[in-house]
Amino acid sequence: MSVILKKPLSLTDKKFHYCPGCTHGVIHRLIAEIIDEYDIREQTIGIAPVGCSVFLDWYFNFDIIQAAHGRAPAVATGVKRVLTENVVFTYQGDGDLASIGIAELIHAAARGENITIVFINNACYGMTGGQMAPTTLEKQITTTTPYGRDHKTSGSPFFVPELLTNMHGVGFLSRRAINNPKNIVRTKKSLKTAFKVQMEGLGFSLVEILSICPVNWGMDPQKSMQWLEDNIIPHYPLGDIKMPDFDV
């Protein structure tokens, strides 16, 4: 009998603590598969954010550093400048990355830090109970936009990878979604490219992944996926935004 599908070595045996239907777990698995496939588990260092995925260490079977809220790209910079041969990635939510940590993100990109950023856009703050994130859609109801987000008072959602396209040191930018098997495969391919860009020394790479937060959206997982497809994906165009000149 041959094993054709098994848990990646880069994942631990711990059960995910995430809410039912949460997509953090799927994305963790994709990252673990890629790290196994590239055989870089022993040289990979993950930087955990503050947010629902703060306990990356519970799930990833390699070295992890937990950073202050939003500061993961600065922490990753410090690590990577010391350990230039290691693979360093951050895993950050949209509050962590696009709100409190936007300066650290943009300047890590501007410096062309040779690191990878995995950016989870679930259009809200998950951990603190579903408040507005910078990526929350207009009219979307959250606990801090109870009448729907109004750009006149709360601003409008912005496009993170697009902000970084003109920077010399940026090697790869992509936006993907996690709503169906086809898009999951594409997400994995983009993540794989992002890690490859780092391993080839081609600079900063970022993959934004459109995700769901059923509990805070107040929907069951299935309805959440539908809402992602009907509202979030139409707003945030999917695809590779800046490409290296190789294929993985």
């Binding site: 260490d57 950073a67 500061r71």
Partner: protein, 352 residues
């Protein structure tokens, strides 16, 4: 023997290189700009990494990352910038990471001024950021001492896995003095860091964390930190005594203000007053040992370039058994030795 004429800020850089620090992350602010400029110039020659960060917040988090990866690393700033670093310093203390932070103080609060001051004593010695943590805080009073203590800071940071702050002021950073650069290599040797995050090749995976959702686990971290702080209190108190053998009027002062106090002690002695000086070199741990048996002292005058932030530590050190007075100036103004002697006389320091 190799002597070099150095600005205080440059002496910090020279000492860091001597102590095998090869990573510096910082953001410009007066009066410490010579420090980042020194590293920008000198690090490429020795294979070091200098980054002008986008903010003090980013800089201290780069320090956090580099320290977690096992490097000797430092940052520097001046008062308003140090306030921004406080979040990161609290995380560094919680994660028990070693690093050196230089604060070349200027007057506050707010944007304050660019003139020298000592008004970050509370912030440096009482924690500064959130949570029950401490840093070792050195207060040098000459460029030579700045050089020596910076080297020592890297060693103690590694030894105790603790952030160490060099608390200088704008005068010390800017003034030039001749510095003996050899002779203290003993404090430079590397300390193994098996806890560092380097990738899990050949070992179990490791984790650097500051979040503990189980109260007992967070209490355990705090107990461990408090035990470490107790050890440091026992072993690392440092101070200088000046004419203390027979002093009945004791000045207490740190850093540049203490130099002025030495002059004041000399002037007072010329008048026949038995004045002396205790100069804390470590502000945390506060050198309580220096105050353990001040049997002769009738009065203590605390002299600082702030509104009296060290007074309470001095009062505690003498259990309020000796009156503790205060003379200080703020805003970047300097206390004068003459005025200090006036105060001594006013307070009853009389010739014997």
């Amino acid at each position: 023997m190799s002597k070099k004429l150095l600005k205080g800020n440059e002496a910090i850089g020279e000492a860091a290189i001597k102590a095998n620090c090869r990573y510096y992350f910082g953001y410009p602010i007066t009066p410490q700009n010579e420090i980042p400029e020194f590293f920008a110039k000198e690090f490429p020659r020795v294979g070091g990494v200098f980054i002008q960060a986008e903010s003090e917040i980013a800089a201290i988090n780069m320090v956090y990352g580099a320290a977690a990866a096992g490097a000797r690393v430092m940052t520097s700033s001046s008062s308003p910038g140090i306030s921004l670093k406080m979040e990161g310093i609290s995380y560094i203390a919680a994660a028990e990471l070693p690093c050196v932070i230089a604060n070349i103080m200027r007057g506050g609060p707010g944007l304050g001024g660019i003139q020298p001051a000592q008004s970050d004593y509370f912030q440096a010695t009482k924690g500064g950021g959130h949570g029950d943590y401490r840093m070792i805080v050195f207060s040098p009073a000459s460029v030579q001492e700045l050089y020596n203590l910076t080297k020592k800071a890297f060693y103690l940071a590694d030894y105790y896995r603790i952030p160490v702050m060099i608390l200088g002021d704008g005068f010390l950073g800017q003034m030039m003095e001749s510095v003996e650069m050899d002779g203290q290599n003993d404090t430079c040797e590397p300390i193994p860091k098996p806890w560092a995050i380097t990738g899990c090749r050949g070992r179990e995976k490791q984790y650097i964390n500051t979040l503990y959702l189980v109260p007992e686990e967070l209490a355990e971290l705090n107990d461990r930190l408090q035990e470490k702080y107790r050890q440091i209190k026992n072993s690392e108190q440092a101070y200088e005594e000046y004419y203390m053998e027979d002093a009945d009027f004791v000045l207490v002062s740190f850093g540049i203000a203490a130099r002025i106090c030495k002059e004041a002690v000399d002037l007072a002695r010329d008048k026949g007053i038995r004045a002396g000086l205790i100069r804390p070199i470590t502000l945390w741990p506060f050198p309580e040992k220096a105050f353990a048996d001040l049997t002769r002292a009738k009065n203590i005058l605390n002299v600082e370039m702030n509104a009296g932030q060290m007074v309470e530590d001095v009062k505690l050190a003498v259990s309020c058994k000796i009156p503790v007075h205060f003379y200080g100036c703020t805003g970047g103004l300097l206390p004068s030795s003459k005025e200090i002697v006036n105060r001594i006389e006013m307070l009853g320091g009389t010739p014997k």
